[in-house]
């Protein structure tokens, strides 16, 4: 029923995201060469038959590093999006439906998290316990849950005064059932779309952390880290840094567009 105009764009976005998922899952098997093997005999090599995207300053194959690097890019962002989706939805429903002190406490937490710059927290955190990938992901989850929570709470508040919710209340349907089985399906469109935006955002932030040297350990094949490592080669060998950079942008944009598209699709479900 949707207009054909968005069709090909969304198809391309889905293809990009599926491709990244395949790389993240089977990366080490698909990579033509070992991403860690250094070949000091051929450093900064331009694209060739042996190295399709050339090699970096240590002679490592860039294509293989990109393929294997999809995992850290994708998995961290996925964990952040999925975990905060779960907690954000549960807490958002609770805050919106119950209101009162539960709502007050949760919303103060949201305000607090919103008023702190994410990157600053991560840098301070890295300064205390050292730069590590999974702890950074955990911190990001805590910082991201409020995004989901706020969206779901707002949508829930809109549903609560509707007669179908009041009818369920007067029928004596338990609160948890009203929240999960009545209200959630009606707010899920925004919640699901938001999860995709969160994913795109987390992907960019995690890459940024690696770029700053606060994410994955040095030497790990990772898009953000590659971008940083290969920046000095920008003029002699641009593909080395542009390729991982382009993939970050492409994946994040695709996720965003898919999120918007899904929202449109899901929002009209009740009208058919």
């Amino acid at each position: 029923m949707h207009s054909g105009r968005t069709g090909p764009v969304i198809a391309a976005c889905l293809a990009v995201v599926l491709g990244v998922i395949v790389l993240a899952t089977f990366g080490p098997l698909l990579a033509p060469l070992d991403p860690a093997v250094q070949n000091l005999a051929s450093v900064n090599a331009p694209p060739s038959g042996a190295h399709w995207l050339g090699t970096d300053a240590l002679g490592r194959d860039i294509l293989s590093r990109i393929i294997v690097g999809a995992r850290t890019a994708f998995v961290g962002a996925f964990v952040i999006a999925a975990t905060s989706f779960l907690f954000g939805n549960l807490l958002g429903l609770l805050a919106g439906y119950r209101g009162g002190w539960i709502d007050a406490i949760l919303m103060r937490w949201v305000d607090m998290m919103w008023s702190i710059p994410t990157l600053l927290v991560l840098i301070v955190f890295a300064g205390i316990i050292g730069a590590q990938y999974w702890p950074s992901v955990a911190v990001l989850v805590v910082l991201t849950v409020p995004f989901d929570l706020r969206v779901v709470r707002g949508a829930t508040l809109e549903q609560v005064p509707r007669p179908y919710v009041e009818a369920a209340k007067t029928l004596g349907v338990p609160g948890w059932r009203i929240m999960l089985l009545h209200i959630w399906p009606n707010v899920s469109a925004s919640a699901i779309a938001n999860a995709f935006l969160v994913f795109a955002d987390a992907l960019v932030v995690l890459s940024g952390l690696s770029f700053l040297g606060l994410g994955v350990p040095p030497g790990t094949p990772d898009w953000g880290l590659m971008l940083a490592e290969n920046v000095p080669l920008l003029f002699v060998h641009p593909v080395a840094s542009l390729a991982p950079g382009a993939l970050i942008v492409l994946t994040a944009t695709s996720m965003n567009l898919i999120g918007d598209w899904l929202q449109e699709q899901l929002a009209t479900r009740g009208e058919r």
């Binding site: 007067t170 004596g172 059932r177 399906p185 009606n186 009740g270």
Partner: protein
């Protein structure tokens, strides 16, 4: 062309009409092609004449006037002929419209709450229309005050107020003043009183008629209420599913409708002065124009339909001088239609036995205050109400009277500030302190049917899911849930296959049936019906009211029927409470209160209920 020839033969068209519409067809462009919304509309308005366009939702009455005023939404196109004072309006450019709208055609819309710009004071709202070069600010202000006086607002300070500071009736008056600012010779009023309370509705309609007479202006009144049209109009156009089915002088139509649809519409209006044995409902619901293309539009719901009625859409033709009907069998069935009306008027309602029974629902000394300490708003003030087993009790009042708040207090959706509620023997002082068992007793005793059929069902859940949940909530160990769901659907007159459907696939009346079925799942002893039919078309209203009356007889349920409509309360209740500004001002048996009202408010409310008589509007300010 036969139809337009008939219109010309109308004696009233001897002078040249102010507005004439011919062969009007309105179509919507969709992915599947052109969809017809309105077809073959022919109408004329003489100078100084009031015509009414009457129809239910989806009849195309509003879209027709939008085409006349050049305000069709994008994607809709009108073809045919619309001439105003000899000038063709169809295909006018937006720029040329400005010289027509306001100065020639004035427009008043249904909702006075959104029609006025909320951030403009009344002075600017009127000033925008009064502005015609050269006049000073002071002169315009004086003129605006004079215009407000014309619409019955004699308080000059209103000019400095914002719309939100005015009541609904005042806003509609300001909107009328704005529409009249440039002295149009034709005023189009689209449901001008539907969003207003009955007492205000009568004042606004009387005002419109007074101004129309004083100015010698023409008026097109769009309404779904035949009684309002009878009281206001000279001639009435009855529309159904995008087509005109009957055109007649108001008094003639009232005396004898010449189309089965008009006849059925008249019959399904509940009378306010007496209780009928059973309302005559039109089966089914209003079809879309596409569903009834190339046949008589009323065929699916007409008891007199024959094979001839399925062949081609009949045109309006002159049946008697000045009277047009689109029914091809009208001459054969006239007698039967008259008989049906007489039969309905003569059928007497036999009251059920009124032996006093046990009380099951009681509200005692209920007080409800909204807002903080500083600006308290008293919504309910020391209200007492009781419902006994098997009886039907009405709770009547206008918006803001507190009737809905009271019903919400009775089921715990609001908590009373003071007073207590007794439900099925459980005394509730504080809902939060009830134990599980008492709460379950209350839920089994009282259930609610809400007003808005469009949001009363969860849009994401199938009808079957919703009903199954209601069943298992009350009896978690129910074995054959599907069978129970089917039983409930049958009880409310819906096909069992509807269990698979989502609410969006159902009409308003069907959704309200599902809502009733859901409430019945708990096997309640009292059903609180909060304006259950006010959002429905008249022809569907009667179906739901009959269903409620039938269910009551079958299941011995008591009703607390909340409504603003006195004619409905007359049809379904034995006892009523009249509420005004948070207080019960009068109570007693329905017949006593409605026949011999004591409280001045009840008297006023009764006088405001629309009747078909023309003098209904007399004697108002």
């Amino acid at each position: 062309m036969s139809a337009s020839a008939a219109v010309t033969a109308n004696p009233q068209t001897m002078t040249s009409p102010l507005l004439s519409v011919k062969r009007l067809r309105i179509e919507r462009r969709t992915a599947e092609g052109l969809q017809t919304l309105v077809s073959g509309v022919e109408l004329t308005v003489q100078p100084g004449e009031t015509i009414g366009i009457v129809g239910e939702s989806g009849s195309g009455k509003s879209i027709t006037t939008r085409a006349i005023t050049g305000l069709l939404p994008p994607g809709l196109t009108a073809t045919g002929e619309i001439r105003y004072a000899g000038r063709s309006l169809l295909g006018l450019r937006e720029r040329d419209w400005r010289t027509v709208r306001g100065t020639e055609l004035g427009l008043i819309l249904q909702d006075p709450f959104t029609m006025l710009n909320p951030i403009m004071r009344c002075e600017r709202i009127l000033g925008e229309s009064l502005r015609n070069g050269g006049t000073s600010w002071f002169a315009r202000r004086e003129e605006a005050i004079r215009r407000l006086a014309e619409v019955g607002i004699h308080d000059a300070s209103v000019i400095d107020r914002y719309p939100f500071q005015l009541s609904g009736g005042m806003r509609q008056r300001v909107a009328i003043a704005a529409a009249l600012a440039r002295d149009p010779s034709l005023l189009i009023a689209d449901e001008p009183s539907t969003a207003l309370d009955v007492t205000t509705q009568r004042e606004i309609l009387a005002l419109l008629r007074r101004i129309q007479v004083a100015r010698g202006m023409s008026l097109i009144l769009i309404t779904h209420d035949l009684r309002v049209a009878f009281a206001m109009c000279d001639r009435i156009y009855v529309m159904y599913a995008g087509s005109l089915v009957e055109v007649a002088p108001a008094d003639k139509l009232d005396a004898e409708p010449l189309h089965p649809y008009s006849n059925a519409l008249l019959l399904s209006e509940p009378p306010v002065d007496r209780r009928v044995a059973e309302l005559v409902a039109i089966p089914g619901s209003v079809p879309s124009p596409g569903e009834v293309a190339n046949k008589c539009v009323f065929v699916p719901r007409c008891q007199w339909a024959q094979s001839a009625c399925h062949q081609g859409s009949p045109l309006l033709r002159e049946v008697m001088p000045g009277r047009l009907s689109a029914c091809i069998r009208v001459d054969e069935i006239r007698g039967q239609m008259t008989a049906l009306r007489r039969q309905s008027a003569e059928a007497v309602f036999r009251p059920a036995d009124t032996t006093p029974r046990n009380q099951i629902l009681q509200a005692h000394g209920i007080q409800k205050v909204f807002g903080g300490q500083r600006h308290p708003v008293v919504a309910l003030d020391n209200v007492f109400l009781e419902v006994r087993e098997g009886e039907s009790v009405g709770l009547v009042g206008e918006s803001g009277s507190g009737k809905t708040t009271l019903s919400r207090v009775l089921v715990g959706l609001e908590h009373a500030t003071a007073g207590n509620v007794t439900v099925g023997g459980v005394n509730v002082a504080d809902w939060r302190k009830l134990n599980r068992k008492d709460l379950a007793t209350i839920r089994r005793t009282v259930q609610v049917v809400f007003q808005d059929p469009y949001s009363t069902l969860n849009p994401m859940r199938s009808i079957g899911w919703t009903l199954a949940e209601a069943i298992t909530t009350h009896k978690p160990d129910t074995r054959q849930v599907d069978r129970e769901v089917e039983g409930l659907l049958e009880a409310v007159g819906l096909p069992t296959s509807y269990a698979q459907r989502r609410p969006a696939a159902l009409s308003g009346g069907m959704r309200q049936r599902v809502a009733i079925a859901r409430a019945l799942a708990a096997r309640p002893r009292v059903l609180i019906c909060d304006e259950p039919v006010s959002a429905l078309d008249v022809s569907v209203q009667a179906q739901i009211l009959n269903l409620l009356n039938r269910l009551r007889a079958e299941r011995e349920i008591a009703y607390l029927f909340i409504t603003h409509d006195l004619s409905i309360v007359r049809q379904v209740t034995e006892r009523i409470y009249v509420m005004h500004r948070g207080r019960v001002v009068e109570s007693g048996t329905t017949d006593d209160v409605l026949n011999h009202p004591q409280d001045p408010y009840t008297v006023r409310l009764l006088a405001s209920a629309p009747t078909a008589e023309r003098d209904w509007l007399d004697g108002t300010r």
